[in-house]
C-alpha cells in the first residue's frame, strides 16, 4: 500500500508533465512561426499581431521553466497570459471576419489588421492559427490544473 501510493502520484505527474510539454511545443511552434513570417518572409506584423506576440512569446519560457523541475503551479502564471492572448486573437479573427465594425478597430495606423497575406486551405489565416494555438494551450493548462489539484 505504502509503495504503490507514491508510484500512483508519479504516474499522474507524468501525464500532467506531458500536457505542459505539449503546451510548450505549441507555444514554441507559434513563436518560431511568427518570427518566420515576419523576419524571413517579410510580412510585417500589424498592431494586433504584436499584442498576440507579447502574450505568446513569454509562454515559451514560462512553460519551459515549469517543466524542469515540474511545477504544476506554472498554470497560475501561464494561464493569464494565455487568456489575454486568446481574447486578442479572437478579436483579431472577428475583425478579419468583418464581425467587428470599422470604428472600434484599433489598427488605423500602419499595417492594416484586416488584410490577410496568408490563407492556407482557403480559410486558415494567421490570426486564426493564433486563436487555435491559444485555445489549445489554454485547454492543456486547464487540464493540467484539474489533474494536479486532484
Amino acid at each position: 500500500m505504502n509503495t504503490s501510493e507514491p508510484k500512483e502520484r508519479d504516474h499522474s505527474q507524468e501525464s500532467t508533465w506531458t500536457l505542459v510539454f505539449l503546451a510548450w511545443l505549441i507555444a514554441s511552434v507559434s513563436a518560431l512561426g511568427a518570427l518566420f513570417l515576419s523576419q524571413v518572409m517579410g510580412i510585417a506584423p500589424c498592431v494586433l499581431c504584436w499584442y498576440q506576440r507579447i502574450f505568446m512569446f513569454p509562454l515559451v519560457f514560462i512553460l519551459a521553466a515549469g517543466l524542469f523541475p515540474f511545477d504544476a503551479r506554472l498554470v497560475r502564471y501561464a494561464l493569464p497570459l494565455t487568456v489575454v492572448g486568446w481574447m486578442i486573437a479572437l478579436f483579431h479573427v472577428l475583425v478579419v471576419a468583418d464581425v467587428i465594425p470599422e470604428n472600434i478597430r484599433p489598427c488605423a495606423q500602419g499595417i492594416p489588421c484586416k488584410d490577410q497575406q496568408i490563407e492556407w486551405f482557403g480559410f486558415l489565416t494567421i490570426p486564426l492559427l493564433s486563436l487555435i494555438a491559444f485555445s489549445l494551450i489554454g485547454l492543456l493548462l486547464l487540464l493540467t490544473y484539474f489533474k494536479a489539484s486532484k
Binding site: 505504502n2 509503495t3 507514491p6 508510484k7 508519479d10 507524468e14 508533465w17 510539454f21 510548450w24 511545443l25 514554441s28 511552434v29 518560431l32 518570427l35 518566420f36 524571413v40 518572409m41 517579410g42 519551459a64 517543466l67 524542469f68 523541475p69 495606423q109 500602419g110
Partner: protein, 234 residues
C-alpha cells in the same frame, strides 16, 4: 528489505523518467530550431530563384526610358536601384552607392526606380519628379534623403514636414505643387510599381547589376557584384 528495494527501484525509475523528459525537451527544442533554420534556407533559395528568373524574363521591365539616370549612357555596367524615399536603408545606401559610382567612374551608370511601399511616400516621389522638371532632381533627392528622419516619423511620410527641408534648393514650390499631380507622374509611379511587382521586388532597396539581382542583401555583396561586373566588362 523488499520495501527498500522497491523504493530504490522507484527512485531509479523516476530518475530515468527525468532523463527521458530532458532528452525529449532538448531534442524538441533542437529540432524546432533546425526546422526553422532549414526553412530560412529553403525559403531564401526559392525566393532568389524566383527573382533571378523574374529578372531574366523581364529585362524590359528593368530599364525604362523615364527612369532618372546617373553616369554615362554607354557604361557597360548598369546598376538599377528600386528605392523608396521613406525607407531608412535606402537612405543609408545612398552615399555607399555614390562611392561605388565614384570608384568606377565612366564604367557604371545608375538608374533609379521608385518603389514607394511606405504610406505617403508616393507623394514624396511626386515631389522628386516635379523637381526633376526644374532640373533639380539629384539635389532634391539628396535633401529628401538627408532630412528623412524629420519628415518620415514612424515610417510614415508626411509631405507637410518635408517642404521646410527643401527651402535651400531654390525650387519653385508653386510649380511643384502644380506639377506633382500631373498624369505623367501618375503613370511613372504606376509603371515602376508594376515593374517592381513583375521583378519580385518586395523590399527596398533592391539592386540589379546588369540584370542580376543581389543574391544576399548587404553592401559588401553589392560591391562584389558590381566589381565582378566591371571586371567582366572591362
Amino acid at each position: 528489505m523488499k520495501k527498500r528495494v522497491q523504493v530504490k527501484k522507484d527512485v531509479q525509475i523516476k530518475r530515468e523518467g527525468i532523463q527521458l523528459k530532458k532528452t525529449l525537451f532538448i531534442g524538441s527544442a533542437v529540432l524546432l530550431v533546425l526546422v526553422f533554420v532549414i526553412g530560412i534556407f529553403l525559403y531564401e533559395s526559392e525566393r532568389l530563384d524566383k527573382s533571378a528568373k523574374a529578372a531574366a524574363e523581364n529585362q524590359a521591365f528593368l530599364v525604362r526610358e523615364h527612369a532618372p539616370r546617373l553616369g554615362p549612357a554607354d557604361a557597360k555596367v548598369h546598376l538599377v536601384e528600386f528605392f523608396d524615399p521613406a525607407c531608412g536603408t535606402c537612405r543609408e545606401f545612398y552615399p555607399l552607392v555614390k562611392d561605388l559610382m565614384k570608384a568606377n567612374r565612366d564604367k557604371i551608370s545608375l538608374s533609379l526606380r521608385y518603389a514607394p511601399f511606405h504610406a505617403g511616400s508616393d507623394n514624396v516621389v511626386r515631389i522628386l519628379e516635379a523637381a526633376r522638371k526644374q532640373g533639380k532632381f539629384w539635389e532634391t533627392l539628396e535633401a529628401v534623403l538627408a532630412s528623412q528622419p524629420f519628415w518620415a516619423p514612424n515610417h510614415k511620410a508626411q509631405v507637410e514636414l518635408l517642404w521646410p527641408q527643401l527651402g535651400k534648393l531654390g525650387l519653385d514650390f508653386e510649380r511643384i505643387r502644380r506639377d506633382m499631380y500631373a498624369p505623367e507622374i501618375d503613370s511613372i509611379i504606376k509603371q515602376d510599381l508594376a515593374d517592381a511587382k513583375a521583378l519580385n521586388v518586395t523590399m527596398t532597396p533592391e539592386f540589379f547589376v546588369n540584370g542580376r539581382p543581389l543574391a544576399d542583401f548587404g553592401y559588401p555583396q553589392l560591391k562584389k557584384l558590381v566589381n565582378d561586373a566591371v571586371a567582366k566588362a572591362y
